[in-house]
Symmetry: C2
Subunit: 562 residues, 2 copies
């Protein structure tokens, strides 16, 4: 039995005050889905806007919006059809289905995420694990595809899925974006939107959702020039990394390193990835989560997604759930672009122009037609073959063996001439590599609430950072008579017009209204009283210090800019 923890307090507050609650409540609730109430929607949007501004101001970035519903072919190319699944185990008696690695977790078996189906089966046997509902025998584990499947249009063969990540929309549009941006490079493509994952049996409220919001960007860079010129903005920053070397020793204390050291030691493999990790840490700090409650957990090769060559989960420490991923930072190499190129035949490479054309001497092969035709008869085919062969290879062959085999033809030095020619190379073509930061928005909302949750004199105060509170001020007429509501309403109208998010409340004693405002995390309460009628001043009460000061009505706006 767990004691009442912050999670319970927050879930209770969230439901009562309108941040979030389980979806389909009146239908008995549905695991893995939450509804956001008025303040939840507000907080989510503030974090989203902050994120967009935060990263856009640092990296050249364009935002796109692509569909949730994705046809089979795209996810076949990207490897999701094959790899996007979780191990599932069924009770052979009551037919209840479980996520197999989570069942093992309950028995405190470590690192269950990386076990194969066979290993899971062995662990189940070894630990004599039974169905927790009916004590029945558990079946052989199988892979369950965790994408929501549907049919697009009226033809049943036209299979589609709800996207489990927004990333593929960015990869398949690389060429189009590249054209509209007239070849800017390196470039990041960003997307914020819903993602769907058909979890087997989600049990962690807002932490493990079947429908949630991702904020992602794919940063496309030149594999031959992986230098990040902005690195010196962050290289002295300390990060906590639980890296591969520590994990392989079965330890779980993260290393505290500077970004520079982590790069120098080869712990982070790419400068851009390191730069984004440092920004990610700063961003999460600005949501109110201290640095010592953050860490980067490197995924071992058997824990990584199929597309990744290195991944760090950016985790925050939560009271009930322990270390929880709020962002993932992955090197996706050129995996996705290459796969889509293969599948579609569309060239998704990038042509980078040299600043000046490079002029190179290049050896070319010239067939001596007379000799060739006297030797082979019809020479169309051999001439074709000679056009595509590397002259250097032929020279090498002649040198070593005195002959060279090309297709079915064996040629000798007399058959051809090797000339050299000046070639003007205007640029270089390559498939970009990708670094991907990906943030889970609902988890950030929850983590922000958990770290904001605090008490002053036994009363709950939600100390959400003031620049992201859903509501910036609450307007309170001291009593609901004697024209105080009129003045209050005027202030409400003006602040609303100016684009502030404010609410008006005249119900209950002023003390109770302050308490409600504190619970919602409203930074400033504006009280209109009898003195307001006399001198045009109002009281501003600060959420965190509970201090009050009087200001002129005209100065209220300035106090709301956090």
């Amino acid at each position: 039995m767990k004691k009442t923890d912050k999670y319970e307090s927050i879930v209770e507050l969230a439901r009562r005050r309108g941040f979030f609650w389980q979806s389909y409540e009146i239908y008995g609730g549905l695991s893995g889905f939450i509804d956001l109430g008025p303040f939840g929607v507000g907080l989510k949007r503030k974090i989203e806007n902050k994120w967009r501004r935060f990263f856009k101001n640092k990296v050249e970035m364009v935002e796109i919006g692509t569909p949730i519903i994705t046809p089979f072919d795209v996810f076949e190319a990207s490897g999701h059809i094959e790899n996007f699944n979780d191990p599932m185990i069924e009770c052979s008696s009551c037919k209840r289905k479980y996520r197999a690695d989570h069942i093992l977790n309950d028995y405190e078996i470590p690192e269950t995420e990386s076990l194969s189906l066979e290993e899971i089966e062995q662990e189940v046997k070894k630990n004599k694990i039974k169905c927790s509902e009916c004590d029945g025998e558990l079946s052989k584990p199988i892979n369950f595809q965790t994408m929501f499947q549907t049919t697009i249009g009226p033809y049943s063969e036209s299979v589609g899925y709800g996207r489990p990540e927004t990333a593929q929309g960015m990869f398949i549009n690389f060429k189009r974006i590249n054209e509209t941006m007239r070849g800017k490079f390196p470039i990041a493509i960003m997307q914020i939107g819903p993602a769907l994952r058909n979890e087997i049996s989600p049990r962690q409220g807002p932490i493990r959702l079947r429908e949630f919001t991702l904020m992602e960007f794919e940063f496309f860079f030149d594999p031959e020039n992986q230098h990040c010129p902005k690195l010196n903005d962050v290289e002295k920053e300390q990060v906590n990394i639980l890296h591969e070397k520590i994990k392989l020793k079965n330890k779980d204390n993260s290393d505290q390193l500077t970004i520079k050291t982590a790069l120098d030691k080869g712990i982070i493999l790419n400068e851009w990835l390191a730069y984004f990790m440092a920004l990610s840490q700063r961003f999460v700090l600005e949501l109110g989560i201290p640095l010592d409650k953050q860490r980067f957990n490197e995924k071992l090769s058997n824990e990584r997604a199929h597309y990744s060559s290195q991944t760090f989960d950016h985790e925050v420490l939560l009271e009930r759930w322990g270390w929880v991923e709020v962002a993932g930072h992955a090197l996706r190499s050129n995996y996705d672009l290459s796969k889509h190129m293969e599948k579609t035949g569309v060239d998704l490479s990038f042509f980078m122009q040299h600043e000046k054309p490079i002029i190179q001497k290049k050896k070319i092969v010239k067939p001596v037609k007379d000799v060739l035709s006297s030797k082979f008869g019809k020479i169309d085919k051999i001439i074709q073959l000679l056009q595509n062969v590397d002259a250097e290879n032929i020279e090498k062959g002649f040198k070593e063996k005195g002959e060279y085999k090309i297709g079915d033809y064996l040629i000798h030095p007399d058959d051809i001439k090797i000339d050299s020619k000046e070639i003007k190379e205007t640029g270089r073509r390559f498939i970009p590599n990708v670094a991907e930061p990906s943030f889970g928005l609902e988890r950030l909302v929850y983590a922000t609430l958990e770290y904001a949750y605090s008490k002053n004199e036994d009363r709950v105060v939600l100390k959400i950072p003031k620049d992201i509170t859903p509501i910036q001020a609450i307007i309170l007429p001291l009593v609901s008579k004697d024209k105080l509501p009129d003045i209050a309403n005027k202030i409400y109208g003006r602040l609303t017009e100016e684009g502030f998010d404010v609410i008006y409340d005249e119900v209950g004693s002023i003390g109770r209204r302050y308490a409600r405002a504190d619970e919602i995390g409203i930074p400033i309460a504006i009280t209109i009283d009898y003195q307001t009628i006399e001198d045009g001043t109002v009281t501003l009460r600060d959420r965190d210090s509970w201090e009050q000061k009087r200001v002129k009505i005209e100065e209220v706006q300035t106090s709301l800019k956090f």
Copy 2:
């Protein structure tokens, strides 16, 4: 063959400049899905934010966010399982499937939307319609359910759908929201988010999408008090209405009426609905679509959605597509709340407190137990029945027939006494009625682009209203040398920090850069030239007039507030 029209020009511009294009291009494209490029995402967000502000400032409103994926039970209760479908017809030879009413449209048969399956079959026969692909015979039309179906979790019986409207999320949360808002009434609940409709064969680009964004609110009001106190803000406004009476006469010229006249004549059935229609018209006007290109098309009873007692489609005139719905205004009565109450047993009624308790004398029935038991023996059941019966009815029965039948019991005046008692009624309980405005965001984006598309001296200028352009200014160093880029970058940095959406461009001649900016619809071009170095002024060029003026760098921001 259609001539090149605005639609084609816009689609070409949208693809080339990065507003929108068909999704999954490199996979051959997928009908009914579009990708939004950088400027499309920007324009969409600006319209969304404008909409939220516009309506929130006029109606007391809270915003929520609920899932796309919805379990079967919810849509069974709401009537979608039964009613959300389109008639489909298949070629019995090539097996191609068509939306049956659209096929009839191609043959210029009017009002096909309201035809039954039998009527469609008759029309197909009468007009000898064949498969347009292979000239094969068409099958009997059937209903095709146009929701995307999926399975939630690992159990195949757990059927779910992508929501075709966001509305149900608001209805099933009415009670919860009511509690968090401490009983405010009337109240509107708003939601903006994705909706999915599995169209049979969408053929109209961004106009008919399988995945799109809805902006909706449900306004809950008292059926016994349908007065809208804000009506006088709009009652003199003229609206074009193609109402039922006109349509039943087979005419298609809309009436121009004031809101007040439309209400007085009973053309619009509810004041709130009328108020929202007037606001809707103003909003669309502010997107640049003139009043004479807008109308409200009343749906006939056989065209209306199953839940609606009156619906007006708010339509705008588009060059290629004719009158196209951009918003729907529906009276949903208490249909949805009642259905969810029935299905779940949860009380979704609203208890409205009277300002003062009302004290009423009420007649109550008192059984005379001795008499009853001597007559009927066991009297538990008759006493139970008497508790729920209306005393007035019994009195009436006695008066008319000298007896009254209740259940299986026949009672007479001696069996009971009728007393009167003072009852304190503190309020009244009712199921709220609902007026629903619902806007299609992608269609508004497209309509905005079509009305913004214009030419100055043969060059395309996208005259998007300046307060919703995706980009507010473009910053152009005249040449990319002599420190002009440095100054330009500083201005770019400062404006970005201030939250403006600006871009920087140094590629190409200044004339070509102006032309590009006009095509994207950027209201102001800020040019940095040699004079900037001397006196700290820059040139501001206006998109619409092409006029230029010089201002101090510090004054630039003021010029960007539209």
